[in-house]
């Protein structure tokens, strides 16, 4: 699903954010990108959804080289990827339902169809009663579930999550991780960048460590959370 070959990223004037990264994520796999702040996790995710271009190397997603894509190609790529962020990135003037539906509307789904689909997703994620609330009226955990629903609405092949539990307390973080595993079980590939070691420990699975922009280690933990889900 994801292949990185000798990927480096340098920010001007001379900040080396990533150095010679090589790794592969298979279809349906769940991978944590772990490491301290500034290790390059977010930069690596940005390369995967093409907010950034690598300075060197090649990135293939689902067989497509995304290293040099025109803006139309970038839009096409992002339609196949669901994104989840620490700060949720919800529009405060829209309701939960409208926030989720927006992602489908912008790619051409009709207003009614996108809202129906958004409602189904919110219902599945336990937000049936809150679909009409605006983000500021929702708890952090609920906001993150709305963001996850938005990431899911276009049936993505891949979900990229950048510190998705960073603003959540432990219980809600665990619940959110469990949600990601459920999504993975449907066949969606998931890459989560986090420095939350507790979340990783609870979850288990494949972990790729980054240290100062270099891939330092790769382990597989016992998937305790997976067994408990």
């Amino acid at each position: 699903m994801i292949q990185l070959f000798h990927v480096s990223k340098t920010y001007p004037p001379n900040y080396q954010a990533l150095t010679d990264i090589n790794f592969e994520v298979k279809k349906g796999e769940f991978v944590f990108l772990a490491g301290p702040s500034g290790a390059g996790k977010s930069t690596l995710l940005k390369l995967l959804f093409r907010q950034e271009e690598p300075t060197e190397g090649q990135i293939l997603i689902d067989g497509q080289n995304i290293t040099r894509l025109a803006s139309r190609g970038v839009a096409g790529l992002r339609r196949r990827i669901g994104l989840v962020f620490q700060e949720f990135k919800l529009l405060t003037h829209l309701t939960a339902l409208e926030n989720v539906a927006l992602a489908a509307e912008v790619i051409g789904m009709s207003k009614n169809a996108s809202r129906t689909r958004a409602y189904q997703l919110l219902r599945d994620l336990g937000l049936k009663e809150r679909y009409d609330s605006k983000p500021l009226g929702l708890s952090a955990g609920e906001q993150q579930r709305v963001a996850i629903a938005r990431a899911l609405i276009n049936d993505p092949m891949l979900i990229l999550a950048d510190e998705p539990t960073g603003n959540l307390d432990a219980d809600v973080a665990e619940e959110t991780m469990r949600l990601f595993f459920k999504i993975r079980d449907r066949g969606t590939t998931i890459v989560v960048a986090t420095h939350d070691l507790q979340a990783i420990h609870r979850a288990g699975t494949r972990i790729v460590f980054l240290q100062r922009g270099v891939l330092s280690n790769e382990v597989r933990l016992s998937p305790a959370l997976e067994r408990r889900k």
Binding site: Q51, R78, S110
Partner: protein
């Protein structure tokens, strides 16, 4: 673009027009002011052209007769001049007729003529020129030929007026584009600034739309449409203002003096000029938006990359 996307674009435009109503209004007013000044020059030019054409159609050469000519000599002279190819007709004005005409022209002030002999004004021939021969050089040549006739003491025609008005018309034509151009440039940047404000107000939305895979065209379309709406609304407002000005001037025509009387009635802009103003408004809005959009998205995307 799909119908559903068009619906999405229109909904966003409607929301933006509602949320930034006064900003959009101010921009439309700016467009209206620029187009009003331009339209006023077009209006002036149109009416001056009509005035000039009216004068051209009625252009006559006045040839004053020697007092010593007898009736037969005058008739022979009239026949000779009527035979010139560029002459439409020749009208003879006697001394008595000239006196009465002058008296009529003076109206209430005709008492000034009291005590003057009635033959103080010379008899004349009013030479009308055929349509198609009313160009300056032809008239000039005919006047020269008449001056060569020994029966005339003086030959007169409103050459200076016609040439002077022609120059004014030329000046108005240039001023229209110079003033208009400066105002259009200013308006162009003001429309651009409004679009930039709208984009700043909705940058979170733009970011999320980009992240979920909206195309650049879809992101830009609402802003472009807003610019066009501002431009066309401004053009319509300018036309309304011009119409009000036109109605006011038409009402005030009698008090504007004899100079404008040959105009008879002022005319409003023709359909072509109205269309020009609407297209200019639309273009100003569209061009200002596109310029601002490109600049904003370029710098904004760069700043997102660095974030």
């Amino acid at each position: 673009m799909k119908i559903s996307l068009l619906g999405f674009v229109f909904r966003r435009v409607r929301n933006s027009l509602w949320h930034l109503f006064w900003t959009h209004c101010l921009t439309a007013v700016t467009v209206a002011m620029a187009l009003y000044v331009f339209g006023a020059f077009v209006f002036l030019e149109t009416n001056l052209q009509r005035l000039l054409k009216g004068w051209g159609d009625e252009i006559q050469i006045s040839a004053y007769l020697d007092k010593n000519l007898n009736s037969a000599e005058v008739q022979a002279l009239v026949k000779r001049i009527e035979a010139y190819p560029e002459v439409e007709r020749v009208k003879q004005t006697s001394q008595e007729q000239a006196w009465r005409d002058f008296q009529t022209a003076l109206g209430g002030q005709s008492g000034l003529l009291a005590g003057l002999p009635r033959d103080v004004l010379p008899a004349s021939l009013e030479v009308s020129i055929k349509p198609g021969h009313q160009d300056g050089p032809v008239v000039e040549q005919l006047a020269r030929r008449l001056r060569q006739q020994k029966e005339f003491t003086a030959v007169d025609y409103p050459q200076e007026w016609v040439e002077g008005l022609g120059l004014v018309l030329l000046g108005v034509g240039w001023a229209k584009w110079i003033f208009g151009g400066v105002l259009f440039m200013a308006t162009f940047f003001i429309v651009g600034s409004t679009v930039k404000l709208a984009m700043l107000a909705r940058q979170d939305e733009i970011e999320i739309m980009q992240l979920v895979g909206a195309s650049e065209n879809l992101i830009q379309a609402p802003f472009l449409l807003e610019g066009m709406i501002q431009g066309v609304a401004g053009a319509i407002a300018s036309l309304i203002l011009l119409w009000i000005t036109f109605q006011f001037l038409r009402g005030e025509m009698p008090s504007l003096g004899g100079f404008l009387m040959p105009l008879g009635r002022l005319t409003f802009l023709d359909l072509r000029s109205i269309g020009l103003l609407l297209v200019l408004g639309w273009l100003l809005g569209a061009a200002g938006s596109v310029f601002s959009l490109r600049r904003f998205l370029k710098s904004w995307n760069a700043s997102r990359s660095e974030a």
